[in-house]
């Protein structure tokens, strides 16, 4: 669900095909019949933006029919935990949770806590002001004494226990309701639910694969949370064949969150310190490190990171240079930054490996904002739209931008491609795979590593004589990577070794367990510790699968500690025995007194299943021997999330920010804390029952094609790829084509409040109209690869979409919005904005 795996991840999809050949059933739930559906046993067409209702329906099916994996749920999840009496569910408040601050568009989360916990010291305090939710990656659990929630009911009968709350919360998500919201006939829905249940339990496991079809929503994080609940109820986490596969959008997007390009986390998901409040390392650790679970070692991870960055300058006396770290004071995410840019609050901008003028929502606003910059650095393989906006953006044609008036100085730096540089990719499975340079980059093309290293080197040279305090963080950096060749390319392996970490004797670390908070160890990313164990590039290992066990531990290297399945302690029962012979993976070897199995156990190796922590235990030692979810303060998987998620402890179906429907479940239509930029340059379509919503009656969704890569910078310029998908097109059903007079192969204009774009029409049976909430709704599919440059050109689908974001992670909702479609090409020049304005005015 939420993924077109065969098209967007064809190489990974080979394993789905392989599994199917071995008897696995593949079910594809997706608005469109795609190349993934073609290989699936069953395709279930669903209305874009309604997946939580579908998954919630499965939760309800499981609970109503007693299909949960009872022992697993009882032992390994927080199902038995009693929740605060102050908590009010959406059931009680017509679609919102307790603690909503409607003015501030945020939740106060005190009432969501475990009952009996010291609310004042809860996890909620770790997240602040506007930056809240930034810590979604870094939300590491409530503050628990010894890892045990204070109040529990092992029978799961207490009406305030998580299990009963869950049951109540999802009771509305009946098959009939699923049919009404998703447009999936109840019979078909029941088929899927039953298939999933039947294929889960002791003997069998099922997996979910998702991609940006789930994340790019105003409730995206909650989509995934719902899947997590389903998988936990069915016992499909930490076990072979189970799990939730996050299919990432590029080769190393996983890597770019592990070693983040995000503003709010540091390597290894350490939260970025916050200005004003986290004045020193002690305060930071106190606020961010729960005493129990592996996050209890946060100080050691942080100090090792600081030592890796500032070397000898980082000493106990100066907090290991903790104050050198930049601080965040608010949301600095992509869309906030672009909005600030448009409002003249930003002077310079680096764009590397991204093409926001095509790839980001409301890309028109992106382009307009770029023109407000003083300078812009773009590093890419070609002059992408983001670099060329000043002379050929579509807004030049419409007159909204005038080249002569744009003062932005654009620095276009030619980049080396992945075949022209060494480095690692971290994939969905957390597998770091090294790639070796095949050819030298041509001309002035250089790797990102080269660029950042030499940029830093030159800045340091310029500042070398500086006495100013503010320059110390730059001057004290360990900026000493060895370089090779005439271009002085930094040695990528040296960077990897720094990330992998060293002990006090400067020997490479084998894993993260030896990390210390006394400054004796260095490690650039604690979860990557050991990737350079024994001085060997572990990520470059390529032992063929047939020459090793089926888990293939000697193919590349997986974080953490080369574990291939996380939380794999859950593959054994509380006593440490495999749940079944068929699904055995990691188990307790009582004779040897250690955990053993196919994989590296994701557990303290010698902690017996019956281990009970002593009173004074901290970190992982505070968790019992039968608690597999060792990153959580309570060692259990969270069906109910008291912290870490800003828009509700339980996932709830909300309509997309733009949808033609009201929410059939509650009075609350859309996510009450979604981020919407209500500004003149980001108008939103009227929705649901609002006046004028019928001007934009169709659901529109974006997607990718195998033939192109994301915003097209790497593929539209290549003749072999461009010829395979030469033009931007829209996919519509024959019914919609009839209704709107669209001709196969002709042109259509697609309109939203932001703009109108044109696309060639692909009429196909693969698009099905759905019956939702008593009426037929049509969906329009738009691949988003196109822009005005390259061999294959076309309008950009993302021009149509608004800045409407998930509040946890600030990801745009481009997988579901509303639009109108009409036959023929769009108006050109100044008539285009005029046309769109008229549409808006007619809508009211």
């Amino acid at each position: 669900m939420g993924s077109n795996m065969a098209e967007a991840h064809p190489v990974g999809f080979q394993w789905v095909v392989e599994a199917r050949e071995r008897g696995a059933k593949v079910i594809h739930v997706d608005p469109r019949f795609t190349r993934t559906s073609a290989l699936a046993d069953l395709h279930v067409p669903i209305r874009a933006g309604s997946d939580i209702a579908f998954l919630g329906g499965i939760v309800n099916y499981i609970l109503e029919n007693g299909r949960e994996f009872r022992e697993y749920v009882q032992a390994y999840t927080n199902a038995r935990t009693i929740i605060s009496d102050d908590f009010r569910d959406t059931e009680d408040l017509d679609g919102i949770f307790s603690g909503l601050d409607r003015e501030g568009r945020k939740y106060e989360r005190e009432s969501w806590q475990y009952k009996g916990m010291d609310v004042g010291a809860s996890a909620g305090e770790r997240e602040y002001g506007e930056a809240e939710g930034e810590q979604a990656h870094g939300a590491h659990g409530g503050e628990l004494e010894q890892g045990e929630p204070p109040r529990e009911d092992e029978t799961l009968q207490d009406p305030r226990c998580v299990f009963q709350l869950l049951k109540k919360h999802y009771a509305r998500y009946t098959p009939e309701m699923v049919e009404r919201i998703c447009g999936v006939p109840r019979a078909q829905f029941l088929d899927v639910a039953e298939a999933l249940c039947a294929n889960s339990g002791r003997e069998r496991t099922s997996a979910f694969c998702y991609a940006v079809g789930w994340t790019q929503h105003t409730v995206g994080v909650q989509y995934i949370r719902t899947a997590a609940i389903v998988q936990l109820l069915l016992g499909n986490i930490g076990r072979p064949g189970g799990g939730i596969m996050a299919l990432r959008g590029h080769a190393s997007i996983q890597g770019s969150t592990d070693i983040p390009t995000l503003f709010n986390i540091l390597p290894g998901y350490l939260p970025m310190p916050h200005a004003h409040e986290e004045t020193g390392l002690d305060v930071y650790v106190e606020r961010n490190a729960p005493p129990t679970g592996f996050w209890g070692n946060t100080r050691a991870y942080m100090v090792s990171l600081l030592k890796a960055w500032w070397g000898t300058a980082a000493q106990y006396e100066n907090d290991f240079c903790f104050d050198y770290l930049p601080r965040i004071d608010k949301d600095h995410s992509h869309y906030r930054t672009v909005a600030d840019m448009e409002d003249n609050k930003l002077r310079g901008y680096f764009v590397m490996g991204e093409n926001p003028a095509v790839g980001s929502a409301n890309s028109k606003l992106q382009r307009l904002a770029l023109a407000k910059l003083q300078w812009l650095v773009v590093r890419d393989l070609d002059e992408i739209e983001t670099a060329s906006f000043w002379h050929d953006a579509p807004e030049i044609e419409t007159g909204e931008l005038v080249t002569e008036d744009i003062a932005t100085e654009v620095f276009l730096m030619p980049a080396a491609s992945h075949t022209e540089k060494d480095g690692s990719f971290t994939n969905t499975q957390r597998l770091l795979q090294w790639h070796h340079k095949a050819v030298e980059p041509e001309g002035d093309c250089r790797s990102e590593l080269w660029f950042m290293y030499h940029l830093g080197r030159r800045i340091r040279e310029r500042l070398a004589s500086s006495e100013r305090e503010r320059d110390r963080p730059i001057l004290d950096l360990t900026w000493d990577y060895p370089t090779v060749g005439p271009t002085e390319e930094p040695d990528a392996e040296a960077v990897l070794a720094e990330i992998g970490g060293f002990d006090a004797e400067c020997e490479p670390l084998a894993d993260y367990l030896p990390l210390r908070d006394d400054g004796s160890t260095t490690c650039g990313c604690w979860i990557y510790a050991g990737c350079y164990a024994d001085g060997v590039n572990q990520t470059a290992r390529r032992k063929p699968g047939r020459e090793q066990s089926w888990v293939a531990p000697e193919w590349a290297w997986a974080w953490p500690m080369n574990r291939r399945i996380l939380y794999n302690r859950a593959s054994a029962d509380p006593e440490g025995r495999p749940w079944s012979e068929r699904k055995k993976y990691v188990w307790w070897d009582a004779a040897a007194g250690e955990w053993t199995g196919e994989d590296v156990p994701d557990f303290t190796p010698d902690k017996a299943p019956d281990y009970v922590p002593p009173e004074d235990a901290t970190a992982q030692q505070a968790l019992r021997g039968d608690e597999p979810f060792i990153m959580q303060g309570d060692g259990r998987a969270w069906l109910f999330a008291p912290s870490g998620v800003v828009d509700g402890p339980l996932p709830t179906h909300y309509e997309p920010a733009e949808s033609p429907f009201e929410n059939p479940l509650y009075g609350q239509r859309a996510n009450p804390v979604r981020e919407e930029y209500r500004r003149r340059d980001n108008p939103l379509n009227p929705t649901g029952r609002e006046a004028g919503s019928d001007a934009y009656p169709f659901v529109v969704t974006t997607y990718r094609l195998t033939e192109h890569h994301t915003a097209g910078g790497m593929s539209r310029t290549l003749p072999f790829l461009a010829e395979l998908q030469p033009e931007f097109f829209c996919e519509v059903s024959p019914e919609l084509a009839r209704e709107r007079g669209l001709e196969h192969g002709g042109w259509a204009t697609i309109v939203s409040a932001r703009t109108a774009i044109e696309a060639r029409v692909m009429v196909t049976e693969r698009m099905k109209p759905l019956r939702v909430d008593g009426r037929v709704v049509h969906q329009v599919g738009l691949p988003y690869h196109w822009g005005n440059r390259g061999i294959s050109t076309g309008d950009s689908a993302n021009d149509l979409f608004p800045f409407a974001l998930d509040p946890n992670v600030h990801i745009q909702e481009v997988k579901a919005a509303t639009c109108d479609v009409r036959p023929g090409r769009r108006p050109r020049g100044p008539e285009l904005p005029e046309f769109v304005r008229n549409y808006r005015e007619q809508a009211g």
């Binding site: 190349r35 006939p185 078909q188 029941l190 088929d191 790829l721 010829e723 030469p726």
Partner: protein
């Protein structure tokens, strides 16, 4: 001579990614040949030719909603049945019987190759791997192979004048590497290997599909009894060959060559005789 090499293209696992098309062009430096948006599903490259040695076909098919026809093991069967009895609002009824076939076509490297038999210059030859390859330094572009291929594979390249087609990556085979398309194929829809072994594998595969109720699976080109003496590159199809732009019963023109020559010589004799006879009247 080495073991005869071949391709087995199993279209039942093709995901239509076109990696084979691109890998082939990259390796063999086959020029781009843009056709524009064809509107033929996701196929914008048309068919095999001088500038396309692998081609992926896309066929969108509405198949009967009848429950009997659905593969017995699939959920679609039950879903289809339930849909039919549900309240009639259901717009999915015919979607349940929808399928999207994809198939990567390639030169068949026939045992009896029409192109090879037709070539008057010897530019086309049979390699030590049993494949059929054009030598570009010999071909003079007479075009006879073009009309001699029952599959419409080989073609003349505009602006170049010579004919081009799949070589099964002859250069790679010589270096003990598999062809670029087979290596690029993520799902092993394209399998490369010893032809005999591939045929056995294919027979097992189709048997297995039949066991799983996919009666529509059939092999195409695996038999030496066919009109070209068996394909060096054969297929597992899920529909009739012509659906994929493949001839249902290809016969190499050379099978008819004796008849052709007999008729030509007969006609030549008649011509000579007729000319002679036209003088007879004068003698009378």
């Amino acid at each position: 001579m080495s073991e005869r090499k071949g391709f087995f293209t199993d279209t039942s696992v093709c995901i239509g990614c076109k990696a084979c098309e691109v890998a082939c062009k990259e390796w063999n430096q086959v020029p781009a040949d843009p056709q524009g948006l064809t509107g033929n599903s996701y196929d914008n490259s048309g068919e095999l030719g001088a500038n396309r040695w692998r081609h992926v076909a896309f066929i969108e098919q509405k198949v009967s909603v009848g429950v009997e026809e659905a593969p017995p093991e699939s959920f679609a069967r039950e879903a289809a049945r339930q849909s039919l009895v549900s309240d009639g609002l259901d717009p999915h009824e015919d979607a349940d019987g929808f399928r999207w076939l994809m198939s990567s076509d390639v030169c068949k490297h026939c045992t009896e190759a029409g192109c090879l038999d037709a070539c008057p210059t010897g530019a086309l030859f049979r390699t030590e791997f049993g494949t059929v390859v054009v030598q570009p330094d010999i071909c003079n572009g007479c075009g006879y192979c073009v009309v001699s291929c029952p599959f419409g594979v080989i073609d003349q390249r505009e602006g170049d004048g010579r004919v081009w087609k799949c070589t099964m990556c002859y250069d790679r085979l010589k270096d003990d590497m598999e062809p670029a398309c087979a290596q690029a194929c993520p799902t092993d829809s394209i399998q490369f290997g010893d032809l005999d072994e591939l045929r056995e594998r294919a027979a097992r595969r189709v048997e297995r599909l039949h066991e799983r109720g996919r009666e529509e699976a059939r092999l195409y080109g695996d038999s030496e009894d066919d009109g070209v003496g068996g394909f060096g590159a054969f297929f597992l199809l899920l529909d009739e060959p012509e659906t994929y732009r493949l001839p249902p019963d290809p016969v190499v023109p050379t099978r008819r060559t004796p008849e052709v020559w007999a008729a030509a010589l007969g006609a030549a004799a008649v011509l000579a005789g007729g000319v002679a006879a036209s003088f007879l009247r004068g003698r009378r």
